[in-house]
């Protein structure tokens, strides 16, 4: 239903909450309970504060590298709120907010960017796959997770994120087609943040929308205002329904913008105008959502200040813990190659220990 009403080929885009925080589509306004709304908002603010701090830590040489999510909070938190706990989240790498919402701890998330594999070992019950660096390849993982859910008749779906740039990759095509062919319970969210590093979206494909790529797989595709958490919620909720019913995957293009640099090694001034950034800052998802919550009497400026302060302290403290973890031990880099260390690996490790014993220097 929803998907038939928003045809990407006709340039239609789903929006419920506009840039000013006004409901522009009250028929579709989702009935989200208060706690969930607050959790959504809290996560977005935490994501924002953590991002800003992480960029600082990196400039201070304390964080290794970092890929900020500023401006993309709604595109991540909206979808997460529409899922169930047992649904799977399959990551690309710019889904900090989604991770936090789904139960990855701030400490784990930071530890990863700090350069420690432990930052990809989320708690046992947290159904989130680690950050996935090779562009596009995560789509196939999600398809497999979803296949297993379906075969085992588990009532769960896999949601997978990818960037606009990632949709050009062969793995995107193979994974989408695989999922569609077997009617798998998968939801793909493209965070179209307009850039792949320095390459603007329009230089990566001639398709007018990324949502229309769904047509190649015979599945619904929809363009959604990715800075509108309510629209993202509604789209994912409908996609989940399809998925659970056995109707297969859905492709959701979240139209958003990467306000910050690609990563801390990137200088966006090389390839885009400040003016463009400012234009998008006016569409800020957090401001918009805050107004909505205040209008609904669920929030206030005072609470907001307190929340920012709370998160700031949380972030500072957490990062302190992260910094205290120090280096990874020699044993640990060997231990996880196989279930049991091979004789060859034992030998290599022992050789190195012997070298260190003889006064070797790391």
């Amino acid at each position: 239903m929803l998907f038939e009403n928003y045809d990407p080929l006709k340039g239609e885009m789903l929006q419920i909450l506009d840039h000013e925080g006004k409901i522009v589509n009250d028929k579709l306004e989702p009935k989200i309970n208060k706690d969930t709304l607050i959790k959504m908002y809290r996560t977005m603010v935490l994501g924002r504060v953590a991002d800003e701090k992480a960029l600082q830590f990196q400039r201070q040489g304390r964080m290794l590298t970092y890929a900020p999510n500023i401006g993309q909070e709604a595109a991540q938190v909206g979808p997460m709120a529409a899922l169930k706990d047992n649904d799977w989240l399959v990551l690309a790498f710019r889904e900090f907010n989604a991770m936090l919402y789904k139960g990855v701890t701030l400490e784990q998330a930071f530890l990863y960017w700090y350069g420690n594999e432990r930052g990809s070992r989320y708690d046992d019950e947290v159904r989130v796959l680690p950050i996935n660096v090779p562009i596009g390849s995560q789509i196939n993982h999600a398809a497999g997770v979803a296949y297993a859910s379906k075969l085992q008749k588990k009532d769960e779906v896999a949601i997978v994120f990818i960037g606009d740039g990632g949709t050009s990759h062969g793995e995107f095509h193979e994974g989408m087609n695989f999922a569609a062919t077997f009617d798998l319970p998968m939801i793909t969210v493209i965070q179209n943040n307009q850039y792949a590093i320095s390459t603007p979206r329009h230089k990566a494909t001639k398709a007018k929308t990324l949502a229309q790529k769904a047509i190649a797989y015979g599945i619904p595709g929809i363009q959604v205002d990715g800075n509108d958490p309510l629209a993202m919620y509604v789209a994912v909720e409908a996609a989940r329904e399809r998925a659970i019913k056995g109707e297969g995957p859905t492709l959701i293009e979240a139209v958003t913008y990467r306000i910050g640099p690609h990563t801390t090694s990137d200088n966006p001034k090389l390839y885009r105008e400040d003016e463009e950034v400012e234009r998008w800052m006016k569409k800020d998802p957090i401001q918009r959502f805050k107004k909505y919550l205040i209008d609904k009497k669920l929030w206030s400026e005072k609470k907001d200040e307190a929340l920012h302060e709370e998160h700031k302290q949380n972030v500072l403290e957490t990062f302190k813990h992260v910094e205290e973890t120090g280096d990874v031990s020699l044993e640990e880099i060997f231990e996880y190659t196989y279930e049991n260390m091979t004789p060859n690996l034992v030998e290599q490790m022992e050789y190195y220990k012997e070298y260190l014993k003889q006064g070797g220097n790391e």
Binding site: R121, S137, I139, G144, V145, Y336, T337, T342
Partner: protein
């Protein structure tokens, strides 16, 4: 005990594993309805249904990548690459994910999965149907690489591979899929991964081979008089069975490694280096390798030059025996 081919051994291993363990799924291009272009998976779809045994679109990265996801979510996928040459579109998935999920997630996720692929030449096939790509998999930490050379081992190693908590690349020497039969138990059994097979004990020279070439080595030794060779079927290329190799070389002092893969930066080089590291002082002759030339495997009208036969192995054995330091 009934006599079975390698192909039957593998089919039976898949069948019995699927029977026993509901989480085992088998899929790939044409493996379902038709039962595979070599018919290795024949009968399985009928028996276990279209959800557990199925045909996929032609998309190797999707086949392997989806197996990663399935393994994470409770299944044990056994996927087929129609020929080892067509595993290359999945190489990114295999190297960047299959080999690494355990380490990446510090053990939260691990991937009990098997990637099967018929490999090797001598079947008069088109381009990309005759490659021996062991090195590409053996060089990658986190993968195991297994190659059976007999029906007994084919069945036992496949069962072991499916039960293994780590991902296993399983290369099948298609040239000898149906070449001969051997007594193979009807029951399930495992042949341990990581252990070479002592084909024949001997004192004069160690000959190491695997896959279709093991039999060629045996035939070669019928041609060479007065040389008492110790023949080792490596069987697991990675992790390699150092112990068996080193003990043998310490005894014989001479060694020949025979493989179809091209020579340079190929698997024999690793074995020679291991021997240098662990048994250098025992060497009585320079270790040698008899391998594919460093060229693209020729199409069938040129392939005879490329194929290693018993005469050539015998020639090399004589060369090594004649070596005087």
């Amino acid at each position: 005990m009934p006599n079975k081919t390698i192909l039957q051994g593998i089919n039976e291993a898949l069948d019995q594993s699927m029977e026993k363990d509901k989480t085992v799924v088998v899929y790939g291009e044409d493996v379902g309805y038709e039962g595979g272009v070599f018919r290795t998976t024949a009968g399985l779809q009928k028996k276990y249904g279209e959800e557990r045994v199925f045909d996929t679109p032609i998309a190797e990265a999707a086949i392997v990548g989806s197996a990663v996801g399935m393994a994470i979510n409770g299944l044990k996928p056994v996927v087929e690459m129609q020929f080892s040459g067509f595993s290359l579109p999945a190489y990114n998935q295999i190297v960047t994910h299959v080999a690494r999920f355990r380490n990446r997630s510090r053990g939260k996720y691990h991937l009990p999965m098997v990637i099967r692929m018929p490999y090797g030449g001598g079947v008069k096939a088109l381009e990309h149907h005759s490659e021996s790509l062991e090195t590409l998999y053996a060089h990658i930490p986190g993968l195991k690489l297994v190659i059976p050379s007999t029906p007994y081992d084919a069945k036992g190693l496949m069962i072991a591979a499916i039960n293994d908590p780590d991902p296993v690349i399983f290369m099948e020497p298609k040239r000898i899929y149906r070449a001969f039969k051997q007594e193979v138990p009807d029951e399930m059994y495992e042949v341990p991964i990581g252990k070479a097979r002592m084909v024949k004990k001997g004192n004069d020279i160690t000959i190491i081979a695997w896959g279709a070439l093991v039999r060629e080595v045996e035939k070669a030794m019928d041609l060479v008089r007065n040389v008492d060779a110790e023949i080792i079927d490596l069987r697991t290329i990675s992790p390699i069975d150092q112990e068996t190799i080193i003990n043998s070389v310490k005894k014989t002092g001479r060694v020949l490694i025979v493989h179809e893969a091209v020579k340079s930066f190929g698997p024999a080089a690793e074995i020679i280096s291991l021997i240098n590291e662990k048994a250098f002082v025992y060497l009585e002759a320079a270790p040698r390798r008899l391998t594919g030339f460093d060229i693209t495997v020729p199409l069938p009208k040129g392939e005879p030059h490329f194929i290693i036969d018993p005469e050539q192995i015998a020639y090399e054995v004589k060369n090594i025996m004649a070596f005087e330091a």
